[in-house]
């Protein structure tokens, strides 16, 4: 089957191939639309990632607070548990639909929230529960002695996290955070279900309009792969930058 890429240079109204493939100043071409859709994907993903990182860190830290004298989790820790259980046990698609179609109607405070923000909350909160798990795992992967050492030097609980536990925990969880950041890009594709004109929406609509499904899907897939690769490289650069000289993460291996 021969591929015909000229469709990307066609404008989206008359379907005439334009000399200027990006369609500057004229009617938008499919290439222009594709790039715009990519922009939407990046926007949704990056905003959601910010939300997820901030909330995920807070929730993850709360879940590692030491038990009280009676050996029970503190109230904050229990609240954080509820957050994680709630947001990770409902499919992302359902959460996004709820945010978009149900929340603004049931809770009038959200009635005028921009739709992009609703999607970002859906995707961000969902991912925050998973990042919270990773932050918790990262903190718990540190030797218990590290916390004791911080406390023994007179650090308060907050200082122990700030100066001792979190710096190492974040370094340890860079690999899972990388895949979570890549996930958030991929998961942003469900946003199309609620009217965000991102890449998957483009694939569906443009594929249908032009009947050049293969080309459209190939281009969109390629952009997803490029996005994932970019995230991967960025995180690798971060990992390299924060690498601690001489520190080898214990792999549990013996001699």
């Amino acid at each position: 089957m021969a591929l015909d890429w000229s469709i990307f240079c066609a404008d989206t109204i008359e379907r005439q191939v334009q000399a200027n493939c990006l369609g500057f100043g004229r009617d938008q071409t499919y290439l222009g639309w594709l790039i715009e859709a990519w922009g939407q994907t990046v926007l949704v993903a990056v905003l959601s990632l910010c939300v997820a990182l901030v909330i995920g860190t807070v929730i993850g830290v709360l879940r590692t607070l030491p038990n009280n004298v009676h050996g029970h989790p503190s109230r904050l820790a229990r609240l954080a548990n509820v957050w994680v259980e709630f947001f990770r046990n409902i499919p992302l698609l359902v959460q996004v639909i709820l945010w978009y179609h149900v929340v603004p109607v049931v809770f009038p405070v959200f009635a005028d929230t921009p739709k992009l923000l609703l999607v970002v909350m859906g995707l961000g909160f969902f991912t925050s529960s998973r990042i919270a798990e990773q932050v918790r795992t990262g903190i718990q992967a540190l030797p218990r002695g590290q916390r004791y050492a911080g406390m023994a030097l007179g650090f308060s609980t907050w200082q122990t996290y700030r100066y001792v536990l979190l710096p190492m925990a974040f370094r340890i969880i860079v690999p899972p955070l990388t895949s979570e950041s890549m996930n958030i890009f991929k998961n942003s594709s469900v946003a199309f279900a609620v009217s965000i004109t991102e890449l998957t929406f483009f694939a569906q609509q443009a594929g249908e309009e032009t009947s050049r499904g293969i080309e459209v899907y190939l281009a969109v897939t390629l952009l997803y792969v490029i996005s994932a690769f970019a995230i991967n490289r960025i995180m690798a650069a971060i990992e390299k930058r924060v690498r601690v000289p001489g520190f080898v993460a214990s792999t549990g291996g013996g001699h």
Partner: protein, 222 residues
């Protein structure tokens, strides 16, 4: 504030709209988990085989799959593969194939981590007793890797179950789809979405609690 009205959701509605979808979602989850673990383990063994070409193939497959949204993979299999091969696959069939192919990439990473988490000493110990590579894998490494990774494997299965909701894009009849149709036909779409969320939550929460208990049990045996 809108008043929600759940009274439309009777046993009859559940049976005629939702039950079939629930069944499909569960079946898809089980089949994709088993298939995914099988092919995932093969991929993991390829990546750890030390044979450059095998490692390459497996790495490209796994990394490629992991950087494309499931939705796109579903669309690829559903729309385009039949177009290229000339053999149609229905919605249900392509859902099964896609999920196995997609999840194999994820399960392979889990199994790879599992195999690598086995202390090198264990590997040496197996060889030191005269076991061959295959025997060492079969009797020493894989049983431990599976056991260590069981909680993670099950967690991935829960995620997989949630991901089955994405088959709406190829109009397969899954759990969410059942609720959506019921909601549209009976004019209570919002309530139907809420009920869907509730049912997903109950299922996934119970499963993840089961995983937690299992994890504690394994921790004791170790």
């Amino acid at each position: 504030m809108m008043v929600l009205d759940f009274s439309f959701f009777t046993w009859d509605v559940f049976r005629s709209y939702v039950l079939g979808g629930l069944w499909f979602s569960l079946a898809l989850t089980v089949i994709a988990t088993l298939g995914g673990i099988f092919f995932g383990t093969l991929l993991a063994l390829m990546r750890l085989s030390g044979i450059k070409s095998l490692e390459m193939v497996a790495a490209v497959y796994v990394n490629g799959m992991r950087s494309i949204p499931l939705l796109m993979v579903l669309l690829w299999f559903f729309l385009l593969v039949p177009l290229v091969t000339g053999h149609p696959i229905g919605a249900e069939g392509s859902a099964v194939i896609t999920f196995i192919a997609f999840e194999a990439a994820y399960f392979s990473e889990i199994m790879r981590a599992g195999i690598q988490s086995i202390p090198r000493g264990q590997v040496f110990a197996g060889y030191a007793m005269g076991m061959s590579y295959a025997q060492n894998m079969k009797f020493v490494i894989l049983p431990q890797a599976f056991r260590n990774m069981l909680p993670v494997l099950m967690t991935q299965t829960i995620i997989l179950f949630q991901d089955t909701s994405l088959v709406y894009i190829i109009t397969a009849h899954d759990l969410l789809h059942g609720f959506t149709v019921a909601g549209n036909n009976l004019s209570h779409p919002r309530e139907a979405y809420i009920l869907a969320a509730l049912l997903y939550f109950v299922i996934c929460y119970s499963l993840s609690n089961a995983v937690k208990r299992l994890q504690q049990k394994i921790a004791i045996i170790r």
